[in-house]
Symmetry: C2
Subunit: 414 residues, 2 copies
């Protein structure tokens, strides 16, 4: 058994794991299936958008010049010409003419502005115009939105509803995105039982002093937004069982493994041993808190994250190491957004380790405050359900003073 008593810094751990993040393959999917997927190519506009000058309002297409001087008391009278109809608007418009037009319709030749319906009144074959419009008013010009050849969405972007709308408007039927990696998720520990498989009575397990495996569910849900989690479940804290589980997970096509529990630097570090024997355990022990017993290894070029058994520690390790790794693997170029808030109380932290502090964000009229939930006790899962995000206190910093500004990464539900 190898013992790793020296801890490496978070920065060094990150620098060690990231080069192992092999970008996933590309796949071509329909634009309408692309919500939350990561774009793998720049999308260049094949066209000008709008493809022609068009009305931005309902009303009458006119020559703006013809409306100058119009007022409610002194309307300008224009001759009403027939619209070209639903599909086209090929009416030609001469000085003193107007053509009824609906939002989105092409502007008739000769016109250069739209006067809103509200400022007009029909009088037989003529139309009264009550308000002057300058040329270009209420018109969306060809290419105003997007020019042909312009990169309108860049590779690395996580696609949102609006982006799908843009792809639709450009008739981009399929796009290339990064495949979602299949990530195996394992929880190790003799004390664990699967809560999904239990009867409603808690007495039984309570008597036996068993603990529910929450980590594999939390990790699967955290992974789900980025990749495809493959929850393998609980493996006993036994060298052979762990080794078999690692090997068979990779044989079943997992492109990486997140393994929680059994990862303490202890007398029973079967997981570390199994990784070392099947491949290489690159580090085991990171100066982060919670999350110290975090490790990383490689088996057949596949990344293996050795995560702490304690729920909050495993989430901390996920946010600090696994998430950046998965972003790199899936080509995400966007950074997670942070907000600034003032610490509502002192947050102690020791120099030489990076602290992952769960906070509640209070939005008050005096500004935003970050309230540390609890500083001690990495088993405090409720500190996660009550927290809105986290603050990272770097290793060279000795805590945060009350009132000091901190950068909070907020969790988002949707």
């Amino acid at each position: 058994m190898k013992l790793f008593r020296t801890l490496i810094s978070w920065e060094e751990a990150l620098k060690t794991v990231l080069p192992h993040a092999e970008r996933t393959e590309l796949e071509e999917i329909r634009f309408e299936d692309a919500l939350t997927r990561v774009l793998a190519e720049d999308i260049l506009s094949p066209i000008d958008s709008p493809p022609f000058d068009r009305a931005a309002m309902d009303g009458y297409a006119i020559r703006g010049e013809d409306s100058f001087g119009a007022s409610p008391q002194n309307p300008v009278l224009l001759k009403r010409k027939k619209s070209g109809g639903g599909e086209e608007n090929r009416a030609e418009l001469a000085e003193g003419d107007c053509v009824p037009i609906a939002t989105g319709m092409p502007l008739p030749q000769g016109s250069n502005a739209v006067v809103m319906l509200e400022y007009t009144r029909e009088r037989g074959d003529t139309v009264e115009i009550f308000k002057p419009v300058t040329p270009g008013k209420n018109v969306s010009f060809q290419g105003e939105d997007v020019k042909k050849g312009e990169a309108i969405l860049k590779a690395g972007k996580i696609l949102r509803a609006h982006d799908l709308g843009m792809l639709a408007s450009l008739f981009t039927r399929t796009i290339r995105v990064y495949k979602r990696a299949k990530l195996g998720i394992i929880a190790t520990g003799d004390e664990l039982i699967d809560p999904a498989l239990q009867s409603a009575e808690h007495d039984q397990w309570q008597r036996k002093q068993k603990i529910a495996d929450s980590n594999s569910y939390t990790l699967a849900a955290l992974t789900q937004k980025i990749a495809n989690p493959y929850r393998i479940g609980i493996v006993r804290d036994n060298y052979d069982e762990i080794k078999d589980a690692l090997r068979s997970s990779l044989e079943r096509g997992c492109e990486g493994l997140l393994v929680s529990g059994g990862s303490s630097v202890g007398t029973r570090d079967f997981l570390g041993d199994a990784v070392e024997d099947l491949g290489e355990l690159i580090f085991h022990g990171v100066a982060i808190r919670p999350g110290e017993p975090t490790g990383f290894g490689i088996i057949n070029t596949k990344p293996i994250f050795v995560l702490p058994g304690y729920p909050v520690a495993t989430i901390a390790a996920f946010e600090l190491l696994v998430r950046p790794f998965l972003y790199a693997m899936h080509g995400v170029t966007e950074e997670q957004r942070k907000i600034f808030a003032r610490a509502s109380k002192k947050i102690p932290s020791a120099v030489g380790r990076t602290d992952f502090v769960r906070v509640k964000v209070l939005r008050t009229e005096q500004g935003y405050f970050a309230e540390p939930i609890r500083v001690s006790g990495s088993g405090i899962l409720s500190s996660m359900t009550k927290s809105d995000g986290f603050v990272v206190i770097p290793e060279n910093k000795e805590g945060v003073a009350e009132g000091e500004l901190v950068a909070v990464t907020e969790y988002y539900s949707w």
Copy 2:
């Protein structure tokens, strides 16, 4: 045809639509399927968590008092007793004893602290302790995380990965959530064609000056995080076809409809007419910009949102009216989070209307800045793909000065 020339305010529009938001039914689902679902009940803890005093570190369970005075130079010697084994830890510990213990294991009777493995060394049947620990050190106490009967998650919460972990840890196998409503999505307009059905060549439609229906895709994607969108597609701008589409969508079980396009206050308001004839068109025209030609009606108690045809306007109407409606319908009690940023330039706005301003958020060392993308042109879909969120300028406010603080609602991809 009815004409609605008077606009109601955004506040009044909200006040009008929200009472029609009928809460969806409840359904019982497995906790592991509940990510992003809205909880419909308070979750009370059925147990203390942890259910027993347990080790928070790997090491030796001891009586803290026995370690007082220990140091590397002067270790305390304790008698090593056998652990109770994997499943139990029923060893009894007397003065001067220690028992090996792994993180998460129950504390043996008689012990009150754990000394970390790092500060110990085995010497045959005895163990050297190099560091004193106070009673309670490295122990997670029964009920420390959650007490029995405590509401640990409240109804109305959108469930996150951490919350699923909490449900797992409490052996909460199933929970009640609000059903996702089935919402029909229709785009009306003679100028529209479905981009998903087109050939890769754009010439054809470009020649015909057709416009891609992007709205139904954007609206479906915006709806998707909250409810189940049912994209019906394009309906021609024709009274009978629109009426048929509304009726048949509701007959097919849609619990509400989002209908874009054809909603301008114009000469061809077939949509407004059809809603009025099948039920009631409660308002049509809201003093928001973009998004003015937004309407709302009821057909057989089902809500019908009449949305502008212009892409940005329809998104504005969604964010300002449809989203709050869907939140109310699905029991969401959380508010959308905002951040404060300084306007990077003047944002003009007229008194008497609410402005929906798309902004890019710049996070600099000088603070956060909100840069308005473009103020005019509701057809500017690229202003949405380039924007990070929006600012609402209330109707009683005449624009925003450069440097003024504004509240930005940021979009989130994941």
